[in-house]
């Protein structure tokens, strides 16, 4: 029998049974690495995909000033993605780094929520997405600063100040467009309507994250929801905008069930490193 192909022997099975049914006092060693790897992909991918989306505005924004504002936010997000995905590569320990994970993974392996992959639309739609995402991400990172995994806590501590600015800037624009002209108000309402069905997914917990949260590594997303709702209501009130009911949510991004938009985004983003794998700056 080839030694490179592991097989389960009867004695292995017997040992596994003993561990499961073992003494209450014998702590079972848990290997967090696979779950942590997946969690880091979720964190890294949502920053990466939204960062990539924002770069589409480069050279196309309504004014030069806004062009730079959006590019700055995009760069912050890509910086976060680099840190999270490099750490994911370390945790996976299979020779992949952040670049490899960003540019050489197929669409079904991406773990971002659906909101970030949605198209930019007009400026109001982009601002609606940014406001909802940054408000959520700020709450998330404020929680992750206290993660029991120090490398995650460190990235969150660096990113939280960036995200605070993104949340403030996008809220400022929601207020100005909502409480602006008839046209800007109409576009802001349409922009928020587009993204409303993707909000619930950001706060969704599954078994993987529940386990990580119980270990203090991840944040329980359901606990972030109240602060998020309060902040969104506050900004929409100031923007004189109606608060829509949340429709039935569309979810699945974090387990790889994406909308058709992500494949197109990745085709643009991954084309060069996939065509010229040895290309360097």
């Amino acid at each position: 029998m080839s030694p490179s192909l592991p097989t389960i022997q009867p004695e292995d099975e017997a040992r596994a049974d003993q561990v499961r049914g073992g003494s209450y006092h014998a702590p079972e060693a848990v290997d967090w690495h696979p779950a942590l790897f997946d969690y880091l992909l979720r964190l890294g991918d949502e920053s990466l995909i939204l960062g990539q989306r924002l770069t589409e505005w480069c050279g196309h924004a309504p004014t030069l000033e806004i062009d730079l504002s959006l590019a700055n936010i995009g760069l912050d997000l890509i910086g976060q993605a680099t840190l999270f995905l490099n750490l994911a590569g370390e945790v996976e320990n299979a020779g992949r780094d952040g670049d490899k994970l960003a540019f050489h993974r197929d669409v079904l392996a991406f773990r971002n929520c659906l909101l970030v992959e949605q198209p930019n639309g007009d400026f109001a739609q982009t601002i609606a997405r940014q406001f909802l995402f940054s408000t959520y991400q700020l709450a998330l990172f404020e929680g992750l600063v206290a993660s029991s995994e120090p490398r995650v806590a460190e990235i969150a501590a660096k990113a939280v100040k960036e995200v605070q600015y993104h949340a403030e800037l996008s809220a400022d624009w929601v207020i100005r467009l909502g409480d602006g002209t008839d046209e800007s108000r109409r576009r802001m309402i349409e922009g928020l309507d587009w993204f409303w069905r993707f909000v619930d997914e950001m706060f969704e917990m599954d078994a993987l994250e529940q386990e990580l949260a119980a270990a203090g590594i991840a944040v329980d997303r359901t606990r972030l929801r109240r602060d998020f709702d309060v902040r969104v209501q506050q900004v929409l009130r100031e923007a004189t905008l109606p608060l829509p009911e949340y429709p039935r949510a569309i979810t699945g991004g974090r387990t790889g069930h994406h909308s058709e938009h992500l494949g197109h985004l990745l085709a643009t983003m991954q084309f060069l490193p996939r065509t010229y794998p040895d290309a360097v700056w």
Binding site: P62, T63, L64, E65, L68, S69, N72, L169, R176
Partner: protein, 94 residues
């Protein structure tokens, strides 16, 4: 769109103890967004720790036509420069 927005002059303080220095201008619909735009354009490379903005239209400037009477009289007043006395060796910083 930007031609509808007023112009704002931007001043940045680069370090504590220094004055705010004029660095350029931005278009923005109001003062708060002018500060944000100034931050996004002029402090991307750690250029500053404080930003002032003011409406360009609020600046009162000297008249270039009057440059002669305004500035030339100072040209012949070299005695206004503090260079007509010796500094004692003991004084290190002046």
């Amino acid at each position: 769109m930007s031609h509808d927005w007023p112009l704002w002059e931007v001043f940045i303080r680069s370090r504590g103890g220094l004055g705010h220095k004029h660095v350029g201008s931005v278009h923005a619909p109001d003062s708060e967004l002018a500060v944000r735009h100034a931050r996004d354009i002029y402090t991307r490379r750690l250029e500053g720790i404080s930003i002032w903005v003011m409406r360009s239209s609020d600046i009162v400037a000297s008249d270039p036509e009057q440059a002669g009477p305004m500035f030339e009289p100072a040209e012949s007043k070299v005695y206004r420069h503090p260079t007509f006395y010796d500094i004692p060796e003991i004084v290190k910083h002046i």
